[in-house]
């Protein structure tokens, strides 16, 4: 069969999802794919658009890369809007040319509805849909103090949050009597309003704007039908979306009365060669303004193009769960009880700010819908009841009552049928997950890779974990979290036992809570916990046997039994004199010298007995240990910052040195790396570190839990525009919470991914102090900082500790015979033959 051409108009999330799915299908062999996008950028995640103001870039939000499109053989035309469709000759036209198609997919999405108000097109009026819109809003906000969002729906509140994050006094103007009129009822909307106003966003409901005129106290004035007015510097219209059906209309395809390209169950339009998916498509008189139904349409169309007779779009669940300005809001199914005979159960706690409503069927046996404001805890459970038609328990009210009042536990993963949809973004059912486990997946990570569950919006991650754990348990796979055969506890539990009971030695801990003599798993773990808790010298007699050799001898063992030495060079800043000392010492001891990735110098090839002598010289020159051997802070990398750089906006070197000196020596579950960049160009590569700090013109943005190395992970933006003090307080808390709760040898990236509740939870604990431990964490850190000593200084000054560095205790002059050397590129390196295989 000859290649045919399939053209996709629109490169948004749904258009992209279609391409992804289509490329994996057999039909892809018969088609050349051509894509037209109106925007300059490749498809990006519009759901998380407001993160663009939090520091995310297009690359962060992008759904794929140009390389991916290349690799799939897709012909990509960005910044090239289609201007017309000639159905008779099957040709689409753009300003750049004419293109023939055999099949045409319209994924043109929607456009923001701008109410017909006089003056709505002047300077300072914006919509909130594309990255270009956001760039324009940001530019305008630089000269503004206040901003109004017209529209109090889901998108409007997102936009209000964005204005707030730009430092503006934000207002929301809503025509309806309450916020989120589609998803919430009066009580829920009222509570949401109260919470949002508490956060400093002013809400104006029942306001019909009649005109926008020049303002007196600000650039613009909004005049309302009730003769009141509101002055503001900029206005963002977010009053709903309209399907983008202009092209379809112009070429005579059937469209709905109020817009939308009419499609059948296979997502095909009135022209059999033309299909429509996503927000531009009208199915059964309905437009679906969420991404998940758009994805379902895309998959349906792919199946139909692959001649699947059963392919059919049959509507979609419009339930939503989101966090608006930090407030949980959830709306499920028939939230407004429109089904005849429906009954309600409401729980409204004005004290703690929780509103929960369940809509029950007439017989009270099935859940039809629900509304949640203030806490989405019960959302997953309620959604499963609705989607799967599971019969409610005898006391259904227990599902929304606080647990202390005898609430029912969440619906167990066991109770879900195999058809239950766990991840709606990628349409993964419980059955799919079971299959993945039967095929050999034994943890959440591998199930995610195998099924793609929880890799879309991520909202189902907690539920996914429950399903995986319960299925593993059913198959007799014991999910053992014991540290090792000596301790039936996790690292976190041991930390707690040590801290709470004031235990200071390994012997005490193992005799009280463990058995046997310990091993190379539990000893270093406990050593690290003891150090984190009490900060005693690692070479204190009781602690020596707990450490890995690197920690014991405070250097990094290399393959021939010699060590490497890395003195601390805070922030990578070093005087010529100190640099000369490093050179002289290296020369004297014939040490192979290499610059590290963390802006320090590594000296290789020192024997055990040379270590104290070398350190005496380094300490005399003002060096301290660099903890390159420890599960502790390594370096704080920095760019040169505002002191020299033309672009720098803050003193990144100064901040890096301060951070490095603050956290040096801290013992953690694994090594910790930090970096500080002096401007948004990010020369210090802070986003690949456990803690990355990037200067802004107002202060510092903090990124957490990034990683380079084997499994790179971009750090997540955690807080913005922090002052020096706020930055340090925030890092103190996150570091200490990590030290207390992470597993053994768990880097921050993996820790965060495994933390139930993820980034949001971490923010609650650290920024909102939801556990009430903020001060305690800071205090603990302050104690550690104040008890810091250079371990090497303490060691060389103590004859007892120096005894540990004898290579052979009975023969001081004896050289280790296996350490033999050769020279390469002007330096010494080991010769070593491996003895056993």
């Amino acid at each position: 069969m000859e290649h045919q051409t399939l053209i996709v108009i629109g490169n948004g999330m749904v258009g992209h999802h279609f391409l992804e799915q289509f490329c994996q299908s057999p039909a892809s062999e018969h088609y050349q794919l051509v894509v037209f996008g109106e925007e300059k950028q490749l498809a990006y995640d519009r759901v998380h658009l407001s993160e663009y103001f939090g520091g995310s870039t297009h690359a962060d939000l992008a759904m794929a890369t140009a390389e991916w499109y290349d690799a799939q053989g897709i012909e990509l035309h960005l910044n090239e809007p289609v201007t017309s469709i000639d159905r008779e000759n099957q040709i689409v036209t753009t300003p750049k040319g004419h293109y023939l198609y055999h099949q045409l997919v319209l994924a043109t999405g929607s456009y923001p509805f701008v109410p017909p108000i006089a003056g709505n097109d002047q300077d300072g009026c914006f919509v909130y849909r594309t990255l270009a819109d956001l760039d324009a809003i940001r530019a305008s906000a630089a000269q503004a103090r206040s901003g109004v969002v017209v529209g109090g729906g889901l998108l409007g509140l997102e936009a209000a949050n964005a204005l707030k994050s730009l430092g503006l006094q934000a207002h929301v103007v809503e025509f309806a009597p309450r916020l989120m009129p589609v998803q919430l009822d009066d009580q829920g909307g009222g509570l949401l309003r109260q919470k949002i106003e508490d956060l400093g966003v002013q809400v104006h409901t029942e306001k019909a704007t009649t005109e926008i005129s020049p303002g007196a106290e600000a650039r613009l004035r909004m005049n309302f039908a009730d003769d009141s007015h509101l002055d503001t510097d900029l206005i963002v219209f977010s009053a709903g979306i309209r399907p983008q059906d202009t092209l379809a209309r112009a070429c005579g395809l059937e469209v709905g009365e109020r817009g939308g390209i009419v499609v059948n169950n296979q997502c095909t339009t009135s022209d059999p060669a033309i299909h429509a998916i996503g927000e531009c498509a009208l199915w059964n008189h309905r437009i679906f303004g969420l991404v998940a139904p758009g994805y379902t349409m895309a998959r349906t169309l792919v199946a139909a193009l692959n001649q699947d007779q059963d392919a059919a779009f049959t509507g979609a669940d419009m339930s939503t769960k989101l966090k608006l300005l930090g407030v949980d809001v959830g709306s499920i199914g028939d939230a407004h009880a429109q089904i005849p005979g429906a009954r309600n159960i409401r729980f409204h706690d004005e004290q703690s700010g929780h509103y929960r409503r369940m809509v029950l069927s007439q017989d009270g046996k099935k859940l039809l819908g629900a509304i949640l404001v203030g806490d989405n805890g019960p959302y997953d459970t309620l959604l499963q009841y609705v989607l799967n038609g599971i019969e409610l328990p005898d006391n259904p009210e227990s599902l929304i009552l606080p647990e202390s009042e005898g609430g029912a536990p969440a619906l167990g993963a066991d109770a879900l049928p195999d058809t239950a949809s766990i991840c709606s973004c990628h349409n993964v059912t419980k059955g799919d997950i079971c299959c993945a486990i039967d095929a050999g997946c034994t943890d959440v990570g591998s199930v995610k890779t195998e099924t793609r569950a929880s890799t879309g919006c991520g909202g189902c991650s907690a539920l996914l974990k429950k399903v995986v754990d319960s299925e593993l348990e059913k198959r007799g796979v014991e999910v053992c979290t014991d540290l090792c055969e000596h301790f039936p506890y996790t690292r976190q539990e041991l930390f707690h036992l040590v801290k709470v009971n004031g235990i200071r030695t390994f012997q005490n801990l193992i005799s009280q809570y463990g058995k046997g003599q310990g091993c190379d798993i539990c000893k270093p773990t406990v050593g690290s916990i003891l150090a984190s808790c009490w900060n005693e010298h690692v070479l204190a007699t009781d602690h020596v046997p707990l450490q890995d050799t690197n920690d014991t001898f405070m250097a990094n063992m290399q393959k021939n039994g010699t060590y490497s030495i890395v003195p601390r060079i805070p922030g990578g800043e070093i005087t010529p004199d100190k640099l000369i000392v490093l050179g002289e010492v290296a020369k004297q001891y014939n040490l192979y010298t290499k610059i590290t990735g963390g802006q320090r110098v590594d000296l290789f090839g020192a024997t055990l007995s040379e270590l104290p002598e070398i350190w005496e010289k380094l300490i005399a020159a003002g060096f301290e240990t660099g903890h390159a051997y420890g599960k502790s802070l390594r370096t704080v990398k920095s760019c040169v910052g505002s002191t020299w750089c033309r672009y720098g906006v803050q003193d990144s070197v100064g901040m890096a040195i301060m951070l490095e000196n603050r956290y040096k020596g801290l013992r953690a579950p694994h090594k910790v790396k930090m970096a500080v960049s002096g401007c948004t160009r990010e020369c210090a590569e802070a986003q690949s570190k456990d803690f990355g700090v990037i200067a802004t013109d107002k202060g510092w943005n903090l990124y957490v839990c990034g990683n380079g190395g084997m499994r790179p992970r971009h750090a997540d933006l955690f807080a913005t525009d922090l002052s020096d003090d706020e930055l340090i307080r925030t890092i103190d808390r996150v570091v200490m919470f990590y030290v207390r709760t992470a597993d053994r040898l768990q880097r921050t990236s993996v820790w965060l991914e495994n933390l139930e509740g993820g980034l949001d939870y971490l923010k609650q604990v650290v920024l909102d102090d939801s556990l009430g431990i903020g001060e305690e964490l800071e205090q603990h850190m302050a104690e550690l900082v104040s008890t810091y000593r250079c371990e090497w200084k303490a060691a060389v000054e103590d004859p007892e500790k120096r005894k540990r560095f004898r290579e052979f205790v009975n023969a001081p002059a004896q050289k280790d015979p296996v350490q033999q050397w050769t020279f390469e590129r002007g330096q010494r390196r080991p010769v070593l033959e491996v003895v056993a295989s």
Binding site: E485, Q517, C522, V544, M557, K559, F808, N810, V835, A836
Partner: protein, 122 residues
Amino acid sequence: MKAPTNWVPVCTVDDLVADSGIAVWTEDGPVSVFYLPNRLPALFAVSHTDPFSGSNVLARGITGDINGEPVVASPIYKQHFSLRTGRCLEDEGVQIKVYPALLDGNRIRLEVPVVQAAPVAA
């Protein structure tokens, strides 16, 4: 017939570190001596050479017990060696030398083969 051996003094009690090892030099090469005060006997001596890397490092490994067997973990690639038999727990075919050890007053003695002066090869 058993090869001739000597019980040679290698160090004193003060040199030992509880629950850890030290290295000594003998005519038979480098040996590590471990002192585990919670066991009986408390003294163990095995070769200091890690057979997997060829490096002299075993005295610097972490000691402990695996299913009751006293072990040291190589600091290079982390294999465990029984302090009683010298056998590698991860690889049955690999074994390191074990030296009988005893406490003689304040001194530690090891039983080491007597080395005959070998003719120097030309």
